[in-house]
């Protein structure tokens, strides 16, 4: 079983990203996934998170993720909003970060003690491929580097969730992020 936590800001498609990963794993990779969404007093720009659990077997536990194996951060400014993205982190927890600045990725690695950090400029890829500053599609592409789901499964799920035209663009952005993602 692998447990994931996605952090981001309202409007970045955090919850949709959870649903998309769940679809990629369940429908296009023959495994099982559930999303455990945490709905609150959302508004655009406020910190949001969602939890996803992935397994080879049907998933029994239906509760929040407290000790994530993978943390995905859609916006590197989230630490300014009193969100502790390292909460529950273990020594081998991987971080997948959206940032255009490798120094920020270094800072996340050092200050939060993540031993495995992947980063990509998903916002720029989203602007280039989709024409909008919504990084969830490319971030899911970058997430494929952790082996949680094949990139093809994520591309297919993005087409399902976003529909034909936006889906194609998101799938392209995901592929691009998958190719550009770097590890510290």
């Amino acid at each position: 079983m692998r447990r994931l936590k996605f952090y981001g800001l309202g409007g970045q498609g955090v919850v949709t990203a959870g649903k998309t990963l769940s679809t990629a794993v369940s429908i296009y990779d023959g495994k099982y996934a559930i999303t455990v969404p945490a709905y609150g007093h959302e508004r655009r720009g406020a910190p949001v998170y969602t939890d996803i659990v992935v397994d080879e077997e049907p998933i029994l536990a239906n509760c929040f993720v407290y000790e994530p194996d993978i943390v995905l951060v859609m916006d590197d400014s989230i630490i300014e909003k009193n969100v502790d993205v390292a909460k529950g982190k273990r020594h081998d927890t991987a971080l997948v970060l959206n940032t255009r600045n490798p120094e920020v990725a270094e800072m996340y690695a050092n200050e939060f003690g993540f031993n495995k950090v992947f980063y990509v400029d998903a916002t720029q890829i989203a602007i280039d491929c989709i024409g909008r500053e919504i990084p969830n599609g490319p971030m899911l592409g970058a997430l494929a580097i952790t082996g949680i789901a094949p990139i093809e499964a994520i591309e297919n799920a993005l087409k399902d969730i976003f529909g034909e035209r936006a889906g194609e663009k998101n799938a392209k952005a995901a592929r691009k992020a998958y190719e550009q993602v770097k590890e510290i």
Binding site: G18, K19, S22, T23, S26, I27, Y32, A33, I34, T35, V36, P37, A38, Y39, I59, L60, A61, N62, C63, F64, Y66, D160
Partner: protein
Amino acid sequence: MGHYKMLDGNYAAVEALKMAGVKVISAYPITPQSSISEKLAELVDEGELNAKYIRVESEHTAMSCAVGAQLTGVRAATATSSVGLALMHEVLNVAAGLRVPLVMPVVNRSLASPWSLWCDHQDTMAERDSGWIQLYCENVQDVFDSVIMAYRIAEHPDVLTPAMVCLDGFFLSHSMQKVLVPEQEEIDRFVGEYKAVNLRLDPKDPILINNLTSPDEITEMKYQQAAGFRNAKRVMGEVFQEFAELFGRKKSVVEGYRTDDADAVIVTLGSMSGTAKYVVNHMREKGYKVGAAKVVSFRPFPYEELRRVLENAAKVAVLDRTTGFGAQGAPLWLEVKSALDGCKLVKSYIGGLAGRDVSMWSIENALMDIMEERSAKPDTKWIDLQGDPMNLRQVLMNV
């Protein structure tokens, strides 16, 4: 033999209502049920569902319209949550008394006050004596399956009792999961056409329904309702059996999980039941002889089956997601306690209120606590209290 679809609990409920061929929908949106009423409206608008959608101004009217519509001889649908269900209270009893076998998804959410959007079972527990069958779901597949089976149970001529299918707000209503959806022909064969078998509203043959009834008759009519619940137990068994044969998924009114040789068992309702099974597996690896029992049908309460499931357990922890203010214990505990003989230690636990997560630790703590419990009559334990609860939001006057 069906196909996989990604659905959250609300869309799984909509899929089942649609496939059961509901002809009239009267729903009022409320968080976290809203996407049920919205999706149904969309399906009607797009012509995917051949039904009349009545926009109503409240849940009281939503239920009134549903009762009236179903009395004309079609399946009617509505759905609600929390204070919406509370507002239906009067008409819930009307539906039950008129023996109108409505099937209604209820997305469990806490009751005000304090205002909360989040899950617990106060809303449906407050309706446990309203004359409705109550089925609780563990996962999203369960939501689909339970709505479909509820039609067969509720509409059976020996039952004629409306049914709530209870799904936990957010933990199920908004959790996206893989669901095996049967083909329409399979559902058609299983659910069948709706026939009004008791009262019927027909302008060509008018009758008076819900008239003032004298004390001479009401006791007997209530007795008939009680008989409907007694029969519902038998019918549930038959329907679950047929469903398992056709669709391969085994259901039961109460499901024991590793209970055969368990010394201590935790009894749960709804989405926390999966977490309980997970924790049981985990604790078994550490050598604890524990088990879990999931109550699926809260009304009628399957006391005989529960007795069998808990036969070998000396200690029983009952975790309620509601308060049971002023009672000897919370509602599920009261049922379990009176189902079992006096030799067992049965302790009431309260947790997971208003969206507080029933985490793996909550379940493990309850099981560890009951294993260590020595008192024959222990007090109710609130398992997930934080800090000093009496210091929270104290109202200081004239300071």
